[in-house]
Symmetry: C2
Subunit: 215 residues, 2 copies
DNA sequence: TGTACATCAGTGAACGCGCGTTCACTGATGTAC
DNA sequence: TGTACATCAGTGAACGCGCGTTCACTGATGTAC
């Protein structure tokens, strides 16, 4: 790649990063402007058009990048669970919450824009969530406690429930961390973790006692 | 109430209704303007200030009204389930989806603005969802299949899971109905209903085999 | 009941501002010879 | 290797537009006598 191409690529990525940063710090993607994004990067507004046709196009690209992050995290979680079958629910959850802590932006973006965003972004997100669902269902297939879930349909229903809940867990966690004064924070964190553990155990209790109803 | 007060109240409600309408037809509350809302009602922009200090204040009021709608629907569902213990999951769900169909705006508004909206609206919503949770937990307490869930903590965890999932069910339903061509629509509806039934049965299977783990 | 004044929901002009987008440009990098 | 031209990321001025908000106003409704 030539010097020119490299620099262009850097600017492009800087615009994407700036848009993600701006749209995950209290405001939503649909309420940030093209000019703000350019300003954040130190570019003149018109330079934006060298990289994207408009904010919708940037948004769609951002969805792709962000979905990839989530996919990686969810997959890692699945693999950890798979390779350490004795892993307790609690330990898996610690892993999950620390991943959210380290890099909250992808979660915030996906959840906020999933229903709240502009048409184009919403479409891109729902497509990516479909993919996420398929991949995660394949991961789940290898887990012991799910072996009697023979058909892929049931597996997808399970992965659908888990992915949707993981979004609400992530957001509960993030908004807890963001707005709880530090004195009570640790206690509140514990309480949220315990609630989430109970939710997961409830579902897996349902799975281990599962038998497909007659239709 | 005097004629003047009555008319004022009508205008106020018209502004709230217009804001709800505008913010649930493809765009989000944070992206509609004060001027648009006034225009929709047939008022001059400055008249807006006779009723609300700004859009944030209107938003908070809207959250209250919309949450009341949801509370009523969820409570009715709980009562129906309670009074007809033999009601099948499927039948309850039909009721749920037809309620969503008849009046989708409250669902769209709450879900889109829950994470995607402005600070003030988000706060108001999270408070209302807390209340919804408490009320729904009290409703659940009376259901037979939950009798061995002695403590309120577990009940709240259950109601939390169900309310969060009901939001995703409602939105899946709404976006299905909105964007599927009518030829495939009925088939897709059936598929979604079946998936949701499976999810509910999974959770209630978990409940009936529940015993509190040793912490 | 009629009159004189007070209240106040809605009006209309005006403002400054940030927005998205256009256009002709500049000057560093790339390419052909 | 050096030269002459082409490309194209980033610039800066300019535009029209819808926005939130201010202000002094109007005229129907309310109130006190």
């Amino acid at each position: 790649m030539s010097i020119r191409d490299e620099r262009k690529q850097q600017s492009r990525q800087a615009l994407l990063d700036a848009a993600l940063r701006l749209s995950t710090s209290g405001r939503s993607f649909s309420s940030i402007s093209l000019r703000e994004v350019a300003r954040e990067v130190g570019l003149v507004p018109t330079a934006f058009y060298r990289h994207f046709q408009d904010m919708d196009e940037l948004g769609k690209e951002l969805v792709d990048q962000v979905a990839l992050d989530l996919k990686t995290i969810l997959h890692q979680l699945g693999q950890t669970y798979l390779n350490q079958p004795k892993t307790k629910t609690k330990a898996s959850l610690e892993l999950f919450f620390s991943a959210v802590d380290q890099n909250p932006a992808p979660w915030i973006f996906m959840i906020a824009e999933r229903w709240g965003g502009a048409e184009a972004v919403r479409h891109a997100i729902s497509r990516e969530i479909d993919y996420l669902n398929q991949d995660f269902a394949t991961d789940l297939e290898k887990i012991d406690s799910v072996q009697h879930f023979h058909n892929m349909h049931d597996l997808k229903v399970l992965s659908n429930i888990l992915i949707n809940l993981s979004f609400t867990w992530a957001m509960s966690w993030i908004s807890l961390v963001r707005q709880t004064p530090s004195i009570e924070l640790e206690l509140e964190k514990m309480a949220l973790k315990n609630q989430t553990v109970t939710q997961i155990q409830l579902i897996f209790r349902g799975i281990s006692n599962w038998e497909r109803p007659k239709n």
